[in-house]
């Protein structure tokens, strides 16, 4: 092993260092100078993310392990880092006016967001189960706080507490799994586990199998797979909307980054076992997510169930355990991030102080008052439903084609049927926006919408909507990067 060359080792975690440093500057600025408006904090956070993104992109193509192989930078980690940072930057843009409107503690808010992203970057780079665990905790604890931050609303602290309790429970189970694995193979290094896995499989070592099972439960919780999804609707509904956007995208992608790294890649020798489990998890996740979303009245809750369903589609791709499948999952997560952030962006723009106006009926008639927001929402809804020529279709196309190629035709059929079901609740939003007229003196609807629409929201909606349309027509480059992200990971088929 030897002692690492420190500058090299630090260069591996350069994006994390940048983000952590920015977080410190941000909180220090907020505490020491107490700027009246929080724009300096916001700007520091945003440019910190931008710098981290630049560092990540500059490192594209390098493969380097550091700190006694605790972390590993490769294209896969860089791909995920780009997704996290992109999601983080869009979240920051969505947050600027929202934080002010809802009176959240801005300095803390931005700092926590940055720390959480630091944890995600560690998860993407994890090369050891201990790093996995540390990354998860660094990511999760700030998010627990963020969820509970909206003190004015009684739902928010409740959501935070639920998330904290269940999340803590899931982390404990994950840690339990790590301990079992350590007991079975005597190491926490992923490379070593890969080496020991075939032997443990042959011996059907119960310790090893139980360990893998516990890991799966912990990760399933983070990406909200059914039956580990119970926290999702409540947490998503209660959290400040910008935080919901961030959780539904970045936290989920981070969960998938370790799912891919630890289960799909490291435990590839036992693919036959876990792909059966994935098959069932994917089916129940898609079915429950989509079916329950049908009856939701609160749009945040509907999108919570929809995000569960989308985790199911990603899992369809991963069930195959093939290179094409993992590539499809990466593409899906990238596209999903854009469309989901966009959808929450419109909700932020259209809702009122105190998170009012997040009922689906509240969107009645916005097509007349705010045609551009309605149009953007239409793009996001069609994309989430997977209708061409939006990017959502491309994501589903890759996911289902991976499944069919690997022979999981039944899974693909269930998947497409469920996306037909999902079209119903996404269309409902379009129906109220475009086809219904606001009635006089209604309980819902008829605005006023979006009392505080900042420039950040508009810009991020434009970015999301346009990139969804462009990706829907020219998905080639994303496919190219996803392909590169998997090169050099020799353990795949």
């Amino acid at each position: 092993m030897g002692i690492d060359n420190l500058p090299v080792a630090l260069s591996v975690i350069r994006p994390e260092l940048i983000l952590a440093g920015t977080a410190l500057v941000c909180i220090a600025l907020d505490l020491l100078y107490k700027p009246a408006d929080k724009m300096p904090c916001w700007a520091i956070a945003f440019f910190g993310c931008l710098a981290a993104l630049a560092a990540t992109i500059a490192a594209w193509g390098t493969e380097q392990e550091a700190f006694s192989q605790l972390v590993r930078m490769d294209n896969l980690s860089n791909f995920f880092a780009v997704v996290f940072l992109m999601a983080g930057m869009i979240t920051l843009c969505l947050s600027a006016s929202y934080v002010q409107r809802e009176g959240l503690m801005a300095g803390e808010y931005y700092t926590l967001l940055l720390i959480s992203m630091t944890g995600m970057l560690f998860m993407a780079q994890a090369n050891d189960l201990m790093t996995v665990y540390l990354g998860i905790e660094i990511m999760s604890i700030p998010v627990y706080v963020l969820v509970a931050m909206m003190q004015k609303s009684p739902k928010s602290p409740e959501a935070g507490l639920k998330y904290l309790l269940l999340g803590g429970f899931a982390s404990a189970i994950l840690l339990f799994g790590i301990a079992f694995l350590y007991g079975a193979v005597g190491t926490t290094q992923l490379a070593d586990i890969l080496r020991h896995a075939p032997r443990a499989m042959r011996a059907s070592d119960p310790l090893f199998l139980a360990g893998v099972g516990f890991l799966l439960v912990g990760m399933g919780f983070k990406v909200s797979l059914v039956p580990f999804h119970m926290w999702t609707p409540d947490a998503y509904e209660g959290a400040p909307t910008s935080v919901t956007a961030f959780m539904s995208v970045a936290v989920k992608a981070a969960g998938f980054s370790i799912l891919i790294r630890v289960i799909v890649l490291t435990l590839h020798p036992m693919a036959a076992t876990w792909s059966q489990i994935f098959w069932w998890l994917a089916v129940v996740t898609m079915v429950l997510g989509n079916v329950v979303a049908l009856v939701q009245e609160n749009i945040k809750r509907m999108l919570a169930y929809s995000s569960i369903a989308h985790a199911g589609y990603v899992l369809v791709a991963l069930t195959t355990g093939s290179q094409l499948g993992v590539q499809a999952a990466l593409i899906y997560l990238f596209i999903y991030s854009l469309m989901n952030l966009g959808a929450f962006g419109v909700i932020i723009a259209m809702s009122r102080e105190g998170d009012q106006g997040v009922h689906i009926e509240d969107f009645t008639g916005i097509a007349r008052e705010h045609p551009m927001y309605a149009l953007a929402m239409a793009v996001f809804m069609f994309s989430l439903a997977g209708v061409p020529p939006t990017a959502g279709f491309i994501g589903k196309f890759y996911a289902f084609s991976a499944a069919i190629k690997a022979g999981y035709i039944g899974l693909a059929v269930i998947g497409v049927l469920m996306s037909a079901v999902s079209a119903y609740f996404y269309l409902r939003v379009l129906v109220v926006m475009y086809m219904k007229e606001p009635e006089a003196g209604p309980e819902y609807g008829a605005g006023p919408w979006g009392a505080t629409v900042g420039a950040g929201v508009s810009v991020s909606l434009w970015v999301c909507a346009l990139s969804i349309l462009v990706l829907g027509i020219w998905p080639g480059w994303l496919n190219h990067f996803a392909h590169q992200a998997l090169q050099g990971l020799g353990c795949l088929l």
Binding site: F382, V387, V416, A423, L430, V431
Partner: protein
């Protein structure tokens, strides 16, 4: 100019899209007239340019697929922007570009709310429909096929009648459900092709070569057929159609009946049947029986409708039953009849919906009982209505006859029972159409509101005249159009493994249309011969 010649089809497909972007970006919602004019001129330009395609198509060439363009899109997956046109898609393509400007003209005064959005939707729809007719790559086809849903959904849902939301959602979900299963089938076929030939390709002609065992072939055929049968719509998948037709605004109904339904039959013609010939053979009885049920059921239900628009909608079910029957009997007469009947139905039913729209704009009702004696107050209108009605019934000398006659000829050659049952549909069509016409247009002019109705204005006449011209042209000299597809139909029959019968000589067929007596003898004789 050179670019237009080199990429004629792409130019035609994307011209409406360019128009839509122009309207979206450069015109404000309040500039209603400008929006209408830009849309109309874009559509008109599309039609004029498409004439070049019609004239340039070489009907005698052995290369039936012409004007092929191929541009790599995602080449590593075998996804190529490949378009081309053959005799069969040519006619449907022309019909679409022909109806485009007329539809815009017809709804010039009936759409006043959100004019910009409506016209953008119409233009986007036009691009998607044209694209679907010329795609030779299954991935490309699927994109256009699905993309059609979005503008149509908005057209029905925003500008439709009182139950528009229900109709729009039903239309969208029904069609999406079918298409998604087709997507799975496309992907399966694609990977079988990779296994057999070792390279990735969504190209239709590559996929034609895939060998399948009968079991999977049947399943794939069903997945494709379900998607297309919903679109046609074939009995029993037709329930979305009356809702969608009745609730859609006039322009939407015209496009829906005129072009969108043809997507389904065209899908059978281009994809399901040539891709899965053995399964087509296997499912022939099922489809033929469903087609005949559609013919008779559609006609019977149409007969009792109190609402003219609903009557026309159900008559579509009946007419499309004819088209499907002509396709599955798999002989030259049947298939050529089907293709020409698709065009006929687009023209006649399109015109009927326009006419219903015109009377609705004046009276705000579509119930037959509210009319009566209209021919006295609106003589010009009555004349047009009569011609279109007769064309829809299939009066010799008008277009409907050519298509139905050829289809029946083909049906009799395959099975007399099917032929007889289908022919009864022609009689029923005469019953429901003429009865409706009599009740609405003749009789005493006893309702006060009907006495003061204004007859057609020049704009409305300008909408109907081109359609009437085409109705007469196809009725009197169908050779112009049939000739374009002779070779393509032969190619289609060869691909489906049915080209054992000698092709019809052009001379013989021409004689069929001269007098009715010769033709009746003729198909009787051939029917016996074949059995």
């Amino acid at each position: 100019m050179e670019i237009i010649n080199q990429h004629l089809i792409s130019v035609l497909v994307f011209l409406p899209l360019a128009g839509a972007l122009f309207v979206l970006l450069f015109l404000r919602g309040s500039q209603k007239e400008a929006v209408r004019w830009v849309t109309f001129l874009t559509m008109l330009a599309g039609f004029v340019i498409s004439l070049k395609l019609f004239l340039g198509y070489d009907a005698d060439s052995t290369q039936t697929m012409q004007f092929i363009e191929s541009t790599p899109w995602l080449p590593e997956y075998g996804i190529v922007f490949k378009v081309g046109i053959d005799g069969m898609s040519l006619l449907l393509f022309m019909m679409t570009t022909f109806l485009g400007p007329l539809v815009i003209l017809s709804s010039w005064r009936s759409i006043e709310d959100r004019v910009k959005g409506f016209h953008v939707c119409m233009l986007l729809l036009q691009t998607a429909m044209l694209g679907a007719f010329v795609s030779l790559n299954l991935f490309l086809f699927y994109i256009f096929w699905e993309a059609m849903l979005i503008p149509m959904y908005f057209i029905i849902g925003i500008w439709g009648g009182p139950r528009r939301i229900y109709a729009a959602v039903k239309f969208f979900l029904y069609t999406l459900f079918g298409s998604l299963l087709m997507l799975v089938a496309i992907l399966y076929l694609y990977f079988v092709h990779v296994k057999q030939f070792g390279f990735y390709s969504f190209d239709l002609f590559d996929l034609y070569r895939v060998h399948l065992a009968l079991g999977p072939e049947k399943l794939l055929f069903l997945a494709f057929a379900l998607s297309f049968a919903i679109k046609v719509p074939m009995f029993p998948f037709h329930t979305w159609l009356p809702d969608a037709h009745v609730e859609a605004p006039t322009a939407g109904s015209v496009i829906l009946a005129g072009v969108l339904l043809k997507m389904g039959t065209y899908g059978f013609l281009r994809f399901s049947m040539p891709l899965f010939p053995a399964a087509t053979e296997y499912f022939y009885p099922l489809i033929a029986v469903l087609a005949v049920i559609g013919i008779i059921y559609g006609a019977l239900v149409a007969m009792v409708q109190p609402d003219v628009k609903k009557l026309v909608a159900y008559s579509s079910v009946s007419h499309l039953g004819f088209v499907m029957l002509g396709l599955v009997v798999l002989n030259v007469q049947g298939v050529e009849g089907s293709v020409i009947q698709m065009v006929n139905h687009g023209l006649s039913t399109g015109a009927l919906f326009i006419i219903v729209g015109m009377i609705y704009d004046r009276r705000h009702t579509r119930l037959i009982a509210d009319f009566g004696g209209i021919s006295k107050s609106m003589p010009i209108f009555a004349t047009f209505f009569m011609i279109v009605t007769l064309s829809s019934i299939g009066l010799p000398g008008l277009n409907g006859f050519v298509g139905e006659f050829l289809i029946l000829l083909g049906a009799f050659k395959k099975s007399v029972v099917l032929g007889v049952l289908a022919a009864s549909g022609v009689i029923l069509a005469a019953v429901y159409m003429l009865w409706m016409f009599k009740r609405a247009m003749f009789g005493p002019l006893d309702k006060e509101e009907n006495k003061s109705l204004k007859d057609l204005d020049p704009r409305e006449i300008a909408v109907l005249v081109p359609i009437i011209v085409m109705i007469l042209w196809i009725g009197i000299y169908p050779q112009t159009f049939l000739r374009k597809m002779d070779r393509s139909v032969e190619g289609f029959l060869t691909r489906t493994g049915q080209n054992t019968a000698p092709p019809v000589q052009p001379l013989e067929r021409e004689s069929l249309f001269m007098t009715e007596s010769i033709s009746v003898q003729d198909f009787g004789g051939q029917g016996h011969g074949n059995r």
